[in-house]
Symmetry: C2
Subunit: 155 residues, 2 copies
């Protein structure tokens, strides 16, 4: 089951925080984004498309409040801006290409065996809501191979 904007509203209320237009909009954006990785800047843009005059500081503060309530996670994958996304229960993980930055989603089941062995062997519980593996994606690997064969031809 997906997290709804209303779930976040309720959590905010319970924490004694207030439901404002900006927050409503941001919760909606997060709920709609689902698996997408959004940067603060993208969330800001989308918020301003719906309701004008939203400031970046409001975006960051709202995201921080939702992170405090365990709805949002702020992750840094590679360089540049961090990503914000909901900590859903349908866990998925990311294969992030170090060359082109593409992220491939991997369903939890594909990594479960590896996680189980880490848990058993090291008592370590991987964060099942977010996980990034850095490496090289297929396209970039092919490009690299082409490049090296070209280089070899030139020798």
């Amino acid at each position: 089951m997906e997290i709804q904007a209303e779930d976040m509203h309720e959590a905010l209320r319970k924490a004694g925080l207030r439901i404002t237009l900006a927050r409503r909009v941001i919760c909606r954006i997060l709920a709609d984004a689902d698996e997408e990785h959004l940067t603060a800047a993208e969330i800001l843009d989308r918020a301003n498309n719906v309701a004008g005059g939203v400031d970046q500081s409001t975006v960051y503060r709202t995201l921080e409040a939702l992170a405090e309530l365990n709805y949002v996670q702020h992750v840094h994958i590679g360089h540049g801006a961090g990503f914000f996304h909901l900590r859903g229960d349908h866990a998925h993980h990311h294969l992030v290409c170090e060359v082109c930055g593409t992220a491939i989603n991997v369903p939890y089941e594909d990594l479960e065996p590896a996680f189980a062995s880490l848990r058993d062997k090291y008592g370590f519980m991987p964060d099942s809501t977010h996980f990034a593996i850095l490496g090289h994606c297929q396209d970039c690997r092919e490009t690299e191979e082409t490049k090296s064969s070209v280089a070899n031809d030139l020798l």
Copy 2:
């Protein structure tokens, strides 16, 4: 076999780059750090302890040059400053606790099966020289359990 400062010197020379005092010092720091995760600021500090007057821009530029030569990797784990470290042989990976920051080393063999399946299924080649899994370590998990039972007692 560990990477030596001299290996990096040779690579720099081969690339037509020059061996300067700052670079010599930085290569040494990286070789000595071994598997430690150093930030640019820490490398700068250590460099200035050995040879004064090294600038941060020199540190970043040298690290970038070494990254280009595939000796150094710049990774961002969590927020804050990124870490720089040598790309050693694919020896081990890190389980990084999101609570206390402790990193547990895991030998490559323990993750090899998972890596193989990612390669087969997604054509994705995990970076075998660096890999961090975020999660909660055993100690922090125990502390958390204690905290929640205390909280329950207070209800």
